[in-house]
């Protein structure tokens, strides 16, 4: 009996090893690069392999990207990876950071905290010096524990949960979830959009419930009246008639929708059927609503969303980013995740140049220098004209509010002073 088990084990192991060995030669060139992205990754592989070719250890910055490249959240992970690649290519073409080239090393964590830690270890084996990740919040919190232990500099483009940056070596580029809720409430009351607010939110999603909780708290302070507060969860997110009905019955004139655009498109359709047309207000998860298949764009007319980035903006920087991004992604338009990561890489560049960081320094020395550098820089990026960081790792930047008019995002003016002060107060 033992022998039988033993043979089966040996044979299986041998076969597994054979498979690995067989694929080893073909994967070795691409595995360290960004090619794990997706089916469309061929373009990425081409561009990154050129970066790898002229890079030997010691004279390149190896920047890690960890995020979901497969599975349900893969849209975010791949966007971040493309964003990183666009920025890295630009930086390299312009002479690199302090004259050293940048190499992106990436790994797929499938939005799983344990796998994310595994990815972190894998990338460490590949010589990662700075982590520009992870993409999603929970894996980010788990990995931040390990970067703290190794004292590796980490800056997350999109880990929006508050606890992501609890450690002093972790910074972030996006707004925190509660900040978005606070900012939304402030914006509504300052611009007198309405008095009675109805809320629908995804209770099973930490992003949505994080915004919701902060919004409710701030709305009370701002004198907004939350008349209906209805939740749904991941298992029943197709029929919103009950929640919409509650808001309609309560006479809400603003409907706050802090969740992702796929579900939001359904809410808009169903509200239309019920002849209910309040002011719809969303957060950055709403970005992308105009790209939903089969969605009648006229329903989104007048929808307001607070988002840091819109691919349809016409300024030169966004246009250049769009073009470069679409070349890598095979025609897919960028979203805010890609833009956040793009800004993240430029923040790393700025901080590294400020403190004269070189790849030959130890990971821990880089981290100490970067921590200092980050608080001294100010960058103008895709997601804001001016981003600065404080010691806590939270960014200070002005939020942007867009209104959909004639099927296009049109930027509304925002009051910068109010935004900056709230961002600072949440961070403290």
């Amino acid at each position: 009996m033992e022998m039988r088990k033993f043979t089966s084990l040996v044979l299986a192991a041998a076969m597994g090893a054979g498979l690995l060995a067989g694929c080893g030669s073909s994967s070795s060139t691409s595995s360290s690069t960004a090619s794990s992205a997706a089916a469309t990754a061929s373009v990425v592989t081409d561009t990154t392999s050129t970066t790898t070719a002229n890079a030997s250890s010691g004279d390149t910055f190896k920047i890690g990207v960890i995020g979901p490249l497969t599975g349900g959240a893969s849209a975010y992970g791949t966007a971040v990876l493309y964003g990183a690649q666009v920025a890295a290519n630009e930086i390299n073409a312009a002479g690199g950071i302090n004259g050293y080239q940048v190499e992106i090393v990436s790994a797929d964590d499938e939005n799983d905290a344990q796998k994310s830690v595994n990815c972190y270890n894998t990338l460490k084996d590949k010589g990662m010096q700075i982590l520009a990740g992870t993409v999603t919040s929970n894996p980010c919190i788990a990995v931040a524990d390990y970067t703290k232990q190794d004292n590796m500099f980490q800056i997350t483009p999109s880990g929006s949960a508050e606890k992501c940056i609890a450690n002093d070596n972790v910074f972030r580029t996006c707004f925190a979830d509660p900040e978005q809720g606070t900012l939304s409430a402030d914006y509504m009351s300052e611009n007198k959009l309405g008095k009675k607010v109805g809320i629908i939110y995804d209770q099973s999603d930490s992003y949505s419930s994080g915004i919701h909780d902060a919004f409710v708290k701030e709305a009370k302070k701002d004198g907004l009246d939350v008349v209906s507060d209805e939740a749904f969860n991941a298992d029943n997110k197709t029929d919103f008639s009950v929640q919409i009905q509650a808001a309609q019955d309560a006479g809400a004139d603003i409907l706050f929708l802090p969740f992702y655009y796929t579900e939001a498109s359904l809410v808009l359709q169903q509200a239309k059927k019920m002849n209910y047309s309040p002011l719809f207000f969303g957060c950055d998860g709403m970005d992308g609503i105009l790209t939903v298949d089969g969605f009648d764009k006229s329903l989104a007319e007048g929808l307001m969303l607070m988002a840091p980035f819109s691919a349809s903006a016409t300024d030169e920087k966004t246009q250049a980013f769009d073009t470069a991004y679409e070349k890598l992604s095979g025609g897919e338009a960028p979203n805010q995740f890609g833009a956040d990561e793009y800004d993240t890489l430029y923040a790393i560049k700025a901080a590294a140049e400020k403190e004269n960081v070189t790849p030959s320094m130890s990971v821990s020395d880089i981290c100490e220098a970067m921590k200092k550098g980050m608080t001294e820089i100010q960058i103008s990026g895709l997601t804001s004209d001016s981003i600065t960081w404080d010691k806590s790792g939270a960014p200070t930047k002005s939020p942007r509010v867009y209104v959909i008019k004639n099927g296009e995002y049109v930027e509304e003016s925002t009051s910068d002073s109010a935004a900056t002060s709230t961002a600072a107060s949440t961070a403290s």
Binding site: A12, C23, S36, D112, Y120, D145, S204, S209, H212, V216
Partner: protein
Amino acid sequence: MSKTKTLSKTGRDHLITYGMVIIIYIVVEILLHAGLINNQMQGLLVPVCYYSVCAVALNLCVGILGELSLGHAGFMCVGAFASAIWSYQMQSTSMPAGLRFFIAFLIGIAAAMIIGVIIGIPVLRLNGDYLAIVTLAFGEIIKNLNSALFLGIDSKGIHLSLKSAIYLNLEDGVDPIVNGAQGIAGTPRDANFTIAVIVLLISLFIVQNLIDSRDGRAIMAIRDNRIAAEATGINVTKYKMLAFVISAGIAGAAGVLYSHNISTLVSQSQYFGYNVSILILVYVVLGGIGNMRGSVIATAILYILPELLRGLNKYRMFVYSIVLIVMMLLNWAPAAVMFRKKLFARFRKNEGTAEGGRKNGTA
């Protein structure tokens, strides 16, 4: 064959299992100190251990008791949350980490066992596949319940809500411990490879000794023929409960290791959903139903393999599934079994007859 002979045979069999785990542990520790294991592998050591523990627990339920459970990830979830709440609350006190972690184990195991009793009392009285259905539902319920749970402790006591953190009405400056879908963040990372291996050894010790005991024989008698077992005076429900609750408790211990290995704990389907339960069942089936050592080996291979295959990118899960199929065929297909027998018959001749007796033992 005399009775002493059979006893020593199972005894030796168990010793091989412990020996295997201990030898692997020593080898890994030596390699760790020599710096020969890369970071990726180091990160996989504890997960392999806790999934092995859970596979051993499930094997007790499936292989020895003969009842299919599809909710062992749910027991892990219970153990993980119960112990994480304790450790989170206690980490600010002066309690030494070792003692805190030990008590966390007791709490996690106790919580999982209590849930096991609650499920077992109605279901284990029934005949048929009801346990599979109920545990499947239980796993989903516990996962959803935990993701809607808000819990905080301040000077006034424990606050609980199923709606939102706001309704907890906590004092200013006190954060909720369990924050709904955001789970628990900031549990101390007390688990390490040594502790994980000790937990695995204890689990193996408990399960293997249970199998050899009088109670174990009663449990297996129920599995093989319920009516005959009942006719000989075995209290069927009692023994079923015994095995099931121990199995739940060990799965709870795996959950404790889980929640103390990474600092975030979220009750989502990718961590504790029925897919994870089925994954553990796959470890058990491919390792051999009723074979504890096989469960440990299968878990180690099947957990590490997908991580090693990361270099293959999108072909990763494709290769993994082929490996699953091939492993299954090698283990169970009659032709493969025949082939192995022939192959080993030749080795046997060279080795002499010393091993010959064991070969005829039951599989």
